[in-house]
């Protein structure tokens, strides 16, 4: 306890230190100059200056995804704040913890349309877990404590704290609260043991069970428990895009990804299952396909810490609100106390059926003599796997190919925008990964469209030595949209052919390394050069224009209607 008084700006930084924050991403501006002055006078927190506020928030999310800790972004009022909205929404959809501090005009100016004023709390209300406007400097430390608590507990998500200019100069004592008191916020971590017992019985007796592993498995860190349950009860595991890396691809029970671009056999297994054990997934339309025809014979056991996810899309027969890890630990303990007959023969037959389906693979479409994107991504995987890299992606065809072709045997290695589908996410998220894990190889697999959405961050990477290797699958099109136009809009490629500057020269202009690859035999040498480089890299893989992502379940179709090639 001390009676010394500190300004709001100083209290903000002292609170961040209390929360264990060491790195933040931000961009200064008029109303938050006092915070930047306070930053200048301390050494506890490292600030990374980005080139666009959206990138600051994505970087904070990349940091959070890599470490499991809370990411932090700091921006000014008005446009600084409105530029963060996409980043906030992205973290909200995928459930990653970040706290975004936005500047605000002085309290007495709010509502007067002051210079660089925006109603940040109003604008971000529907795309964040919670938000605050600080109205009294005495509330600041409590609000920051609550913000970090809300962001990191329950289903994690973004919290926005709006800081009026005058709050930052007013003084008060600093006594960081030890606990939070929020009557309306009490996430339920422990699943109901009776429900878990019912689930265990249903899973044991099932003939054709499937586990769907979602992002919640990653958040709760339930990988070991998941593998144990799968092995124990002989249940195959499909994962959602957000669940990538939660189940080792080396396990024979692994089915890979399900959904729109998931494997044929994962989609077939889920569709023909009699029991689905859904763990930490929202049953997004990209994994269910046509909802009315989704797994019609299946009983659904749904575990999620967010009650809203349960029975929102797919009705749960056994709902279990709780943290996936706790629920699985309880399930294992119940089984070990009193093992049940798991009808191993039936389950073996089911696995054999799935193995038959595993013969059905997508047929690559590759017509011209140009480089195949599939070859590039496969080679990237083979050439980098010994480094165990963190792989970020943008959004589009390259993202789906990466999800299909890279094999992940551990979590927090695949960083991609799932729910919101944000082009321009991957590159800044990769910066966040670099800041968090400076010794790990970080790839950003991108399209030539999406890389241009936050390309300015090359400057940030050069400044801070973030060695992101941007692997651009350059097919001259917004490839995923082009793919839909080819199949669904009579090959009318309306506004999907897209140009870009010479990526090699662009990289060089920024002080990064640019490499162009046009032939198969250049892929590996280029990757080697990139890994050895001392700077960030863009590798421009000039690829075939018309490659398609298969398997493909068209939007609104059932999961059993899997297209495997252009001939379907």
């Amino acid at each position: 306890m001390t009676n010394e008084l500190y300004t709001g700006a100083e209290i903000l930084l002292k609170s961040l230190v209390e929360e264990g924050v060491k790195e933040i991403f931000g961009y200064p501006g008029g109303v938050i100059l006092t915070i930047y002055e306070a930053l200048y006078n301390q050494n506890d927190i490292k600030h990374y200056l980005v080139r666009h506020e959206q990138a600051a928030v994505h970087a904070a999310e990349g940091y959070a995804r890599t470490t499991g800790k809370c990411g932090v972004a700091l921006v000014t009022s008005g446009p600084g704040a409105t530029n963060t909205v996409t980043g906030i929404a992205n973290a909200y959809y995928d459930g990653y913890p970040i706290v975004v501090f936005t500047g605000q005009v002085g309290l007495n100016q709010i509502g007067n349309d002051a210079f660089q004023e925006a109603d940040v709390v109003g604008i971000t209300r529907s795309c964040c877990k919670h938000n605050y406007l600080v109205k009294d400097v005495k509330d600041l430390q409590r609000i920051i404590k609550e913000a970090f608590h809300i962001a990191t507990t329950g289903k994690p998500g973004p919290v926005v704290v709006d800081l009026p200019k005058d709050i930052l100069t007013q003084k008060t004592a600093f006594n960081y609260p030890k606990t939070v008191k929020l009557a309306g916020y009490n996430p339920n971590y422990k699943g109901h043991p009776i429900q878990i017992g019912r689930a265990l019985k249903m899973l044991s007796e099932a003939h054709r069970p499937v586990i769907i592993s979602g992002g919640g498995v990653l958040t709760s860190g339930a990988y070991k428990e998941l593998e144990k349950v799968a092995n124990m009860l002989k249940i195959p595991v499909a994962h959602t895009l957000m669940g990538t890396g939660t189940f080792p691809s080396t396990n024979v029970l692994d089915l890979g990804m399900l959904g729109m671009h998931g494997s044929f056999w994962a989609n077939y297994a889920v569709s023909h299952s009699d029991v689905i054990f859904a763990l930490g997934t929202r049953f997004n339309d990209r994994i269910t396909g046509c909802l009315q025809r989704f797994a019609r014979d299946a009983h659904v056991i749904h575990v999620d810490i967010d009650p809203c996810s349960i029975s929102k899309n797919v009705k749960a027969d056994i709902p279990i609100v709780g943290d996936v890890k706790n629920v699985l630990v309880e399930l294992i303990s119940q089984y070990e106390k009193k093992p049940l007959n798991i009808y191993e023969e039936d389950k073996q037959k089911w696995l054999e059926q799935i193995n038959e389906w595993k013969q059905k693979k997508a047929v690559p479409v590759h017509t011209s003599g140009k480089l195949s994107a599939l070859t590039v991504i496969k080679t990237l995987y083979e050439a980098t796997k010994e480094y165990n890299p963190i792989v970020c992606t943008e959004v589009g065809q390259h993202q789906m190919w990466t999800a299909q072709l890279f094999k992940f045997n551990e979590p927090r290695k695949f960083i991609t925008s799932g729910g919101l589908g944000t082009m321009g996410f991957g590159f800044p998220a990769a910066m966040g990964a670099c800041a968090a894990k400076p010794d790990t190889l970080v790839l950003n697999i991108a399209g030539d469209g999406s890389i241009q959405m936050n390309i300015q961050e090359l400057a940030t990477c050069v400044d801070y030595g973030f060695k992101v290797i941007n692997c651009v699958i350059d097919n001259g099109y917004l490839g995923m949209v082009r793919q839909w136009q080819e199949k669904l809009f009579h090959k009318h490629y309306s506004q999907t052919k897209i140009s870009h500057p010479d990526f090699v020269k662009l990289a060089e202009a920024y002080g990064a390394l640019g490499i162009r690859v046009e032939h198969e035999d250049e892929i590996v040498p280029a990757i080697k050069r990139a890994i050895e480089a001392k700077s960030p890299v863009i590798i421009d893989f000039v690829t075939e224009e018309c490659e398609m992502v298969y398997p493909w379940v068209l939007a609104g179709e059932p999961l059993t209607k899997v297209l495997l090639s252009n001939d379907c």
Binding site: V121, R125, S126, K129, L182, G184, P307, S311, K312
Partner: protein
């Protein structure tokens, strides 16, 4: 099956809570039939009463989504059988001399009160459940109704389970 539900929401009495609730309804495409909000006996908390329509799944989602809001402490979907509901209506009627006795009779028959009288107008106040208010509307409709103001619903459960505000 679409049904109307009366949802009673206990919230912390702070700026922006109502916006959060209303945004949730508009953002997720739920309807608000009526809405009332006022502080509870303890001014730290407010009570929001919303009448909304939807099938069972939608109502379940509305309840869950409301619970997810940080300032929301308790959500109760009040069952009509176990709850008392009231609304209030104020009706200004331009009355000719020969109509005055009619209006007085209507007021008496429906338990409405005349709360203001001028040469040309009567103001009726009616408190009751939705059916009672609706009945009164039909009775006064033939007359010259100049202004009609109706509150949203407030509702209170008759059961004996309480949320103790002091323990929050």
């Amino acid at each position: 099956m679409e049904n109307f539900h009366t949802i009673s929401i206990l919230v912390t009495n702070e700026a922006g809570v109502l916006s959060r609730i209303v945004d949730l309804f508009s953002g997720r495409g739920y309807n608000i039939e009526s809405l009332t909000v006022a502080p509870t006996i303890d001014k730290l908390y407010s009570r929001v009463t919303i009448v909304t329509g939807g099938d069972e799944a939608a109502i379940e989602q509305i309840n869950k989504q409301l619970n997810r809001l940080v300032p929301v402490i308790k959500v109760a979907d009040l069952n009509i059988k176990e709850a008392l509901e009231r609304e209030i209506a104020l009706i200004k009627i331009q009355v000719k001399d020969e109509e005055k006795s009619d209006i007085l009779r209507i007021a008496e028959a429906t338990n409405a009160k005349i709360i203001d009288i001028t040469d040309k107008t009567y103001i009726l106040q009616a408190v009751g459940d939705e059916k009672q208010i609706q009945a009164l509307i039909e009775l006064v409709r033939p007359y010259s109704v100049k202004e009609f103001v109706r509150s949203g619903k407030v509702a209170i459960s008759r059961n004996n389970q309480f949320t103790n505000l002091k323990n929050l």
